[in-house]
Every structure is written in structure tokens, then in C-alpha cells.
């Protein structure tokens, strides 16, 4: 009897083990480079002086580029925007709009900056990172970020 319960318990643990792990898609440095390259090309075509930051799903920096003659303060702002988009899984513009529309408490969100220019990187409908751009106007920053993030569509497995 005891033996039976023990075996059942072991079997149950084994069956559960599968549910305790999940396959995730992670952004590689190679992928981050492709995203940044497109954003960089777009920025250069527009004569934009910006920082381009790419973070992983956890909001931690994978790759950063500061184009020549970009204000240095944009380094941290760019990283902050990328992290916001990655860990909140939405464009950072959402929070800027909320604040603008009166939801000032959005400024209290932990680890977020309410500044347009951060865009999530999405593969197979999952957020696997974020790209943040800083240095020019909020709209131009975001356009560059969107151009970079769009590359991730080509990463999706068919």
C-alpha cells in the first residue's frame, strides 16, 4: 500500500515537471544587432542624433549605440525607455499619454519612464525585449524605435 502511494507520488511529480517549465523565445545579440542596424539606418537617413538601446525580456541591456554627436543624457533615457517597453510589454508612449490625460500616478510605476520612444520587441505575439530611442523629438524617437522593432517580425518561426 505504502509502496503504491510512493510510486503514485513520484509519477505525479514527474507529470508535473513538464508543466513547471515552459519554452520561451529569447532575443539573441545577433537579433538585437539586426534591430539596431535598421534603427541606425533610419536615424542616419533622417540625420537624427540618437541613442538606440535594445534590452532583453527582463529589461536588461543587450546592445546600445550612441550615434556620433548625440547628447550624452540620452544614454540613460534610451535604456529606460527600452526597459519600460520590455517589462510593461507596451510602448512607453502609453504611459506618457496617461500622464498627459491626467493619470499622474502613472509616474509612480516602478521601473518605468513615461516617455515616448520605447517599443516592445515582439516575436510570435510574445514580448521578448524592447528597443528605446532617445535624442530627438518624442515622435521621431518612437518612429525610429518602431522601424527597428518591426524587424523582429522576420524572426518569427513560420
Amino acid at each position: 500500500m505504502y509502496l503504491f502511494i510512493a510510486v503514485a507520488f513520484v509519477l505525479a511529480v514527474a507529470a508535473n515537471a513538464q508543466a513547471q517549465l515552459v519554452e520561451k523565445t529569447a532575443l539573441t545579440l545577433e537579433g538585437a544587432k539586426k534591430i539596431a542596424a535598421v534603427a541606425e539606418a533610419r536615424a542616419k537617413a533622417e540625420g537624427a542624433r540618437v541613442v538606440i538601446a535594445v534590452v532583453d525580456e527582463g529589461g536588461v541591456l543587450l546592445l546600445l549605440e550612441r550615434l556620433d554627436d548625440t547628447q550624452v543624457a540620452s544614454v540613460n533615457v534610451g535604456i529606460d525607455k527600452a526597459r519600460t517597453a520590455a517589462i510593461y510589454r507596451r510602448p512607453s508612449k502609453v504611459f506618457e499619454d496617461q500622464v498627459k490625460n491626467g493619470r499622474v500616478s502613472a509616474l509612480a510605476l516602478h521601473g518605468a519612464v513615461a516617455l515616448q520612444g520605447g517599443v516592445p520587441i515582439i516575436v510570435n505575439e510574445k514580448v521578448i525585449g524592447g528597443i528605446g530611442v532617445s535624442g530627438e523629438t518624442p515622435g521621431q524617437d518612437e518612429d525610429i524605435a518602431i522601424a527597428g522593432a518591426a524587424v523582429a517580425a522576420s524572426f518569427a518561426k513560420p
Binding site: 545579440l29 527582463g58 536588461v60 541591456l61 546592445l63 546600445l64 549605440e65 550612441r66 556620433d68 544614454v75
Partner: protein, 304 residues
């Protein structure tokens, strides 16, 4: 009288303006994104060659601000910020960060409090200054390799890649400077009275050009000269002169930024120069054409 005063005042202001311009600003070299990427590429190549388990590589400018960063796959996340901190610390102190780790390990524990003043002060081995022609233009920081020792070894390889780097203009795919051609008649005319062949302004070499060429001519002795930045490479063509090098200039005056002059020098080494001789006078070395048998013509390349 009032009119003259106004003119004189105007001239004085103009002179002050030109002097203060010359002394208030200076040319400096800065690292470009292209340069930062090359440093990272060299570091990554070395990391792969030695099978490093991972690595975050950060390159900052001379102000310690991040220019570029890459975190290799599977490298622990915290390494990104540690690499930035190492690079920043190295750039702001113009020293390898190992010095700080060693100093603290050696008992100078109070040094850790520097962290309160300096954002992201990271006294950990793995940050190396990036030098360009003897000047620190930034730093590279590595974190996340097999050990602090390997972090530093990779950073050193990355920093060395800058030695092989071309001038930023060329590296960015820009056109090189145009070829300079000066025909023999113009050269001869320049030697007749002594003139600058290349480099209009004696005191301001353009950042993209680190040399000047003089067609120098002397009829009589000169004064003691010290060029703080420029090395003179002299080739004697005509006449002869006694050249005194070294010693201590007496009654030294600053005539322009990095340019010192004096009427005489105490001590020094005397040589007689004749046509065909070559002399290289390093920057900072006092030199004086003390006696001249005219006409004394010599070709000088000044290198900064």
C-alpha cells in the same frame, strides 16, 4: 582723440579676443560610434577565440558616457551594468580599474567611498582606457568572462585594436584629404624668404592633419624655441648653422599656446649643421640656431 581711443580700444579688444580664443578652446580627438564598434568587435573576436563563457563589453567616451555596448548570449544580466561601470571608472580616472581593485585589496578600503560621488564607480579589474596618440579618448569595460583576469585580458585586446585604427574620417568611409602638390618654383620662392608651405596657421594644426611643412630660411641667429606639441624634422639644404639643443632656456616667454621662446639657453649640446644633415628635435626640447652662415635654408616637417 576720442576717435583714436576708440580705435585703440577696438584693436585691443580684437587682440584679446584672438588670444582668448586661442587659449580658451583646443582641438581634441573624440571616439566615434564606428571606433567604439571596432573595439567591441576586436574584444568579441578574442572572447570567442579563448572560449570565454560570456561577456558584456561596454565602450564609453572620455566623459565616461556610454557609446556602445554588447552583451554576448548567455552572459549574466548584471554584467551589462558592471561593464559600463568598469569602462566609466577607467575613463574618468584614465587608468585601468585593476589599480583600484588592488589599492582597495591592499588596505585602502576608504577608496570604496568614491562610489558616492561618482555614479557607477566600479573598482573591479576589467576596465582599460582607450588611447589615441597618447590621449585617453574613452575606455572599454568587460564583465562576465571566466574571471576578472580574463575580463581584463579581453579589454586589453579591445583597447589595442584602436592602435590599428585609421583616422576617424577614413574609418567612416569619408574621402581622404586631397593630395598636396607644390611646384618647384613656388618651393624655391618660399625658401628665398622662408615660408610655411603647408599649414597656414602656425599654432593651429587642423585635427585631420597632424603635420606642417616649412621652407625655412635664416640670415641670422634665431631665438631659443620650445614647441610643447610639435616635433621638428629638419633637413639642411644650404648654408650652415650652429644648433644648440637641450639646456635650460633663460627668460622664457609664452608667445602662443604650446609655443615658448627665450633669448638664450643655459647649457645644452651644440652641433654644426651642413647641407645634407638631418636633425629630429622632439617636442618639448629647447633648440636654438645660435650662429648662422647665411643664407641658411632648411626643410622642416613639424609633426604633432
Amino acid at each position: 582723440m576720442k576717435h583714436i581711443t576708440a580705435v585703440v580700444t577696438g584693436v585691443v579688444i580684437a587682440m584679446l579676443a584672438s588670444i582668448s580664443y586661442a587659449e580658451s578652446v583646443s582641438d581634441k580627438r573624440g571616439l566615434t560610434l564606428e571606433g567604439a564598434k571596432r573595439v567591441i568587435a576586436a574584444t568579441v573576436t578574442e572572447a570567442k577565440r579563448v572560449n570565454a563563457p560570456g561577456g558584456s563589453i561596454a565602450v564609453v567616451d572620455d566623459g565616461g558616457n556610454l557609446l556602445a555596448l554588447e552583451r554576448l548570449d548567455q552572459t549574466f544580466a548584471a554584467s551589462a551594468n558592471i561593464a559600463i561601470g568598469k569602462a566609466r571608472t577607467s575613463a574618468l580616472f584614465k587608468k585601468p580599474t585593476k589599480l583600484f581593485e588592488d589599492a582597495i585589496k591592499g588596505g585602502r578600503t576608504s577608496m570604496v567611498t568614491l562610489g558616492s560621488d561618482l555614479q557607477n564607480f566600479t573598482p573591479l579589474q576589467g576596465g582599460i582606457p582607450l588611447e589615441w596618440e597618447g590621449k585617453v579618448v574613452g575606455a572599454v569595460g568587460v564583465s562576465g568572462a571566466a574571471s576578472a583576469q580574463q575580463d581584463e585580458e579581453l579589454a586589453i585586446i579591445g583597447a589595442k585594436s584602436l592602435d590599428y585604427m585609421e583616422m576617424a574620417g577614413i574609418a567612416n568611409g569619408h574621402q581622404p584629404l586631397p593630395v598636396t602638390y607644390i611646384d618647384s618654383q613656388k618651393v624655391a620662392a618660399s625658401f628665398a624668404k622662408g615660408a610655411v608651405l603647408v599649414g597656414e596657421d602656425e599654432n593651429m594644426m587642423h585635427a585631420a592633419r597632424n603635420y606642417m611643412v616649412h621652407a625655412s630660411h635664416r640670415d641670422k641667429a634665431g631665438v631659443v624655441e620650445v614647441h610643447e606639441l610639435d616635433t621638428d624634422i629638419v633637413y639642411v639644404l644650404k648654408g650652415s648653422a650652429q644648433l644648440v639643443t637641450g639646456g635650460t632656456p633663460v627668460g622664457i616667454k609664452i608667445v602662443a599656446p604650446h609655443e615658448l621662446r627665450a633669448p638664450i639657453v643655459a647649457g645644452g649640446e651644440a652641433r654644426t649643421l651642413v647641407p645634407g644633415d638631418v636633425v629630429i628635435i622632439p617636442n618639448g626640447m629647447p633648440h636654438w640656431f645660435k650662429e648662422v652662415t647665411a643664407p641658411f635654408d632648411y626643410y622642416v616637417v613639424k609633426v604633432r
